[in-house]
Structures are given as C-alpha cells and as structure tokens.
Amino acid sequence: MDTTLKSKATVKELDVESIRKEFPILSVKVHGKPLVYFDNAASSQKPLFVIKAIEKYYETVNSNVHRGVHHLSNLATDQFEAARKTIATHLNADAGEVIYTRGTTEAINLVAFSYGEVFVKEGDEIIISQMEHHSNIVPWQMLCERKKAILKVIPITESGELKMDEYKKLLSAKTRLVAVAHVSNSLGTINPVEEIIELAHARNIPVLLDGAQAVPHMKVDVKKLDVDFYCFSGHKVYGPTGIGILFGKEKWLKQMPPYQGGGEMIKEVKLDKSTYQEPPLRFEAGTPNIEGSIVLATAIDYINQLGLDRIATYEHTLLDYATEKLSAIEGLKIVGQAKNKSAIVGFNVEGLHPYDIGIILDQQGIAVRTGHHCTQPVMDLFGIPGTVRASFSFYNTTGEIDALITALKKAIEILKK
C-alpha cells in the first residue's frame, strides 16, 4: 500500500479528538447545529486517508484491470490484486478465497444462487434466524422458492438473543446451510458464532455469516472461526459504497457455478460453449469496482492502524455510557438487551412513534435511524412499528451522547405536550 497516505492517529490510546479531525464531514452543521452522527450501522463516514486514496486512484492509476498490456493497466491490476491480498490477510484468508462484490447483499445473493444451484434440492432446508437483515432473508426465500426447499428460522428471546436450544433442534440431515448475522443490525446482539459453526460442522453443514455489522468493530479471523462463507460491506467499514467482500472456503467455491456471465469470469468463449475461470475471478463478471476495491483495502489499513482492539474497547465504553444515560429516561425501553452487544442501541419511548422522535432529533442536528432497520420480523416479534437506533463509531464521543440525551428530552417534551 502507498505509504504517503498515513493516518496521523497512530497513537497508543485512541485520540478521538485527532481522529475526528480526519473526518471532514463531522464538522458540518445540520439545521444550524453541529452534526452528531449516530447512524454508523447504516453507513460510516470516511477519513481523509480514504477520501484522498480515491482521488489518488483517479489521478494516477485509473485504467481497466487484467486485460491491458500498457503500464497503467498493469498498475491498476497490481493494486487491485494487492488490495485483495490486504483484505484476505485482514480476514486471515487466502487471496483466492476473497471475491469482490457490490456489498453484503450481493455476496449473500451470490452464495444463495451459486451454492444453492449445486447443493440445494427439493425438500432440503436452509436455516436463518429471526433477527436477520432482509438481505439475509430474501435471497434464501428466493432460493427456497426456486428449489422447493424449506426455510427454517431460529427464534430469538425477549432480550434479543438466539434460542440456541431451538437452533440445535432445527439442525437435521436435510439442512444444507446455516446463514446468520455475526452482529444484529437492529438489536446489536453479537451472536455466539463459534458455537453456531461448531454445531453445524458436527453435521457437515456449512455456515454463512453476515458480517456487515461485525467487520467495522471487531477482529474477524475466518480460519479461527472455521466459517465457510463470510460477507461484509465496504461503506460500513469506512470505505466507499458499491464494494463488498465475500469470503468463501476454496472447497466450496471450486464446486460453485458462476453467478453472472460476462467478461473477466471466462477462460475461453466459443459460440456454442464457454469455460470459466477458477475462483475468485469466476464470480467477478464484468469490469469490477476497481477504485472501490483498492480504496477498501486503504480503509482496512486505516482501521488496522487505529487497532481493532482499541476500537472495540472504546466503542464499548460509548455503548455502556449511552445505555446508562438512555435507561434513566422515563418511559424509555431499549430493544435488544443481549449480554454480548456491539455499539448499537435501539429504543422506544412509551407512547411515541420512533419517526416523530427521529424528525425532532434531526432538527437538533442528531442523525439517528428510525423504522424497522430492514428487520421487520424483529419488530413484529416485539409488536412495535420500529425503533430509534443510535449506532456508534470510534469517532463518536460521550459528549455527543449527552447531546443526544438533551435533544431526546426536548423531543419528548414537544411530543408529549
């Protein structure tokens, strides 16, 4: 990676004030008030380190990959493949197991299609959980419809944890895949993925983890987890939108047919029949998101410079602080009270609609998300239209949480008049 783009925030303790200066958007004003950005689970903001890398790519590298004979094309190819290596190393995977996608959604769709095509037949079962994001529900529903397979759902408890006993009962000789979130986007629950994988593997069933909410906040080691498929999105991990990663164990990828046809993914094209590349290129039809891929690796470098352990520790203090302050508000109920949680707090205030609270918070410069967060089955379980969700990043501060509390009290005052 280019060493001229170095984050300044490489100090022992997370120096949040210095880090904040590296994120230009954090100093904008919203409705005349300082922005408090608590919608990190939807998308994270980008540091100059990443923004400058985008500029640098277009100013000095831009060209198409893999096919060119000229200097720039070779340079772009080298950086594109070096980025794959960086991302693979970060996940403790081999570069050949790392596929570039548009995001987590496309990664899951790819597995649902290509794995499903070979391994799922009529009467087979796929296991998901009740806390999944819609993008880890719908692709499996579509697969089940296509193959006449059956979707099984692990229920969750009132506190927002998977009912592991029920999970054990669902595993059967018909199960072809288990697909669950590593971290829930609406409840914040960190699932016991080691145990989930161990139980599935005892029956030779592969496991896919939706890591969209995990990779930005904790170290993920796919070899240690022994997970079969792992997906995440670039834009949630301080990188660009439109790029994501699918990790797949080589033994599965080799047996899976292409997801889309086109350039890049072929070995040889004849008009009567074509042959395909080995993975990962087999799954990367068309000109890829070259800039996105290279800059995603830059973003990964950035969080590694800060240190994921330090990020996790700091974000946990924010979670504890927010949980304590929010719980002190009368009539406020936190939705998602798992013992093991990431820095996401979903809540409701008795008698108030989350949408109303979100609008009044926005007027005060506070960006939260309201609604069902693409997890309608979770909201149905709790019998609520949605929640207000504050999700934190390492650039947030306890001072900002205080601002949320003040703004929330004002919202309650206005709405309860």
Binding site: H353, D356, I359, Q363
Partner: protein, 140 residues
Amino acid sequence: MTIEQAETEMIEEFALFDDWMAKYEYIIDLGKDVPMIDDKYKDENHLIKGCQSKVWLHSEMKDGKIVFTADSDAMITKGLVAMVIRVLSGHTPDEIMQSKLNFINAIGLHEHLSPTRSNGLVAMVKQMKLDATAHNLAKK
C-alpha cells in the same frame, strides 16, 4: 375559499414562527384537529403504507365535493395529513386533481414531500388525487 387561498392562509400562519420548534409544535397541534376517520374505515383497504408511519385515509362525496377523513400513528405525519386535508377537503374532484400543493414547499417542509422520503405523505397525496379521479368517474 379556493385551494390556493387555503394554501396562502396556511403559509401566512407558518410565517409567524421563526424557529423550528414552534413550527413542529404547530404541526403537531394541527394533527390533533384532523378530521378523524371513522374507526370502521381503519382497515387494510384504507391504509396507505409508508415505510415508517401508517396513514389511514377515507374520502366521500358530499354535494359534489370531496370530504376527507384520516388518521396516522405518528404525530408529525398526522399533522402533515391534517394540513393537506385542510387545504383539499371540501373541493370538487377536478379542483383536487389540478392542485399543485406548493404550500408544503413554501413552509419549508419540502423534505416531507420528496418522493424518496418514506413517510407516507407522498403516497397519501397521490391517493387523494386518485380518489378524486375515482369520484369523478363515478359521477360520470
């Protein structure tokens, strides 16, 4: 009062507020006076599904004019609904179909009317115009 006059009246009322809090408090107050939909119409057929808040809308013809009633589960949405109803209710289907509803923009609440915002209000205005078209056809 024509639709445009009702819009002007609304714009003038909102011009009195110079801060956002007063504006939203007024919207919420207007919601409290929304012509309430009869409970028997609060069903799936009358539900306009926005992404976040629910809006129920009913319309009927009285003396050649359409009368709207509604409700919402969110207070701000209910206020916005009440504002649109105050402007449109009691007018002929043709008048409603041709209305531009510029007042939302003029009041500075345009973000609620942008088609990409999923709060049900855009869908509601669309439904009111569809109702007007339907009543017009039924008349002919």
